[in-house]
Amino acid sequence: MSWNSTADFFHMGGYGLYVWGSYAVAALVFAVEPWLAARRRKRAQAALLSPPTESDS
């Protein structure tokens, strides 16, 4: 274990901005993408239940 305290952990030896900036954006991407994929399937399913209109392709 390289850390003596929580603050030490977040400080990341002076590289906190770079390390957490990397992981925060990655976490955001990997949270939003499944949400969008699930929403797309729900919408496709909803479109099946509603009667098709001329504007639907």
């Binding site: 990341m12 030896g13 590289y15 991407v29 499944p34 399937r41 399913q45 099946l48």
Partner: protein, 252 residues
């Protein structure tokens, strides 16, 4: 041919829809467990690097994302080619489902690379062979998505996309070997099949766990998107109508 397994049956969109739906929850579970283990190893077990300090811990997301960006591109080009050559609907749908995930992994690789480049090299970006070819990969993904979205006729869009994906596949070995072929600022391959690992075993373990987590994640999210695409495209078929009748009955 008596006794042979009829593999083609698994290529039917109806089969895929059911099978993928059944494995997606397991893939999410595996991704979460592997990521938790990998992050624990990477942040609490792996030691601070002697040269780079703690900035090197970006490797546990950067390298798996970069690997996925290349692997997914080859998978996308492969399925697109199969869909084109054999007129296989499911293969083309898989190619389309892979593109956004590949693009996002490429973005994550570039983003984390910039945030690692600043402390390690003193610059966010350089136009060297590795970085430039990875940026071209992002443009190839975006080009594939834009091209396939722009053509209304689905099968024509699949074919045009396949052509772009196949031609663009030449970029993947360029990315991989760029650090050997040219003098780049980027370091060489992290893992080699032929040489002993250059990093501490706990670092390697964390890297591999995060890589498997990314594989699980990619399968899960691509299967989810592929199932949405199947519903969108096969809405005229009997099995999808049957499916919607069943789900309509369930929601009432």
């Amino acid at each position: 041919m008596a006794g042979s397994i009829r593999w083609y049956r698994f290529s039917a969109p109806s089969r895929f829809y059911g099978l993928a739906g059944a494995v997606v929850p397991w893939l999410w579970t595996a991704a979460a467990v592997l990521a938790a283990a990998g992050l624990y190893m990477g942040f609490f077990v792996a030691p601070t690097d002697a040269q780079q300090g703690d900035a090197y811990r970006i490797i546990f997301i950067h390298v798996p994302a970069a690997w996925m960006s290349m692997v997914i591109y080859l998978a996308m080009a492969g399925w697109a080619a199969i869909g084109w050559a054999f007129n296989a609907r499911m293969a083309s749908m898989l190619a389309r489902a892979l593109a956004p995930t590949g693009a996002l992994f490429t973005f994550v690789a570039l983003w984390t690379g910039a945030l690692w480049g600043k402390p390690a090299w003193g610059t966010w970006w350089v136009w060297d062979a590795r970085l430039t070819s990875e940026l071209i990969l992002l443009f190839l993904y975006l080009g594939y998505i834009a091209l396939t979205q722009a053509i209304d006729d689905l099968r024509r869009a699949d074919k045009a996309g396949a052509l772009l994906a196949i031609v663009g596949a030449v970029n993947v070995p360029i990315i991989y070997f760029s650090v050997r072929w040219w003098n780049t600022l980027h370091q060489g391959a992290s893992i080699s099949m032929t040489a002993a690992p250059k990093m501490a075993s706990t670092m390697l373990m964390a890297l591999l766990l995060m890589t498997f987590a990314c594989w699980s994640y990619a399968f899960a999210v691509v299967f989810m998107r592929a199932r949405a695409i199947v519903l969108e495209r096969e809405s005229h078929t009997d099995w999808v109508r049957e499916l919607s009748r069943v789900s309509e009955g369930l929601t009432r």
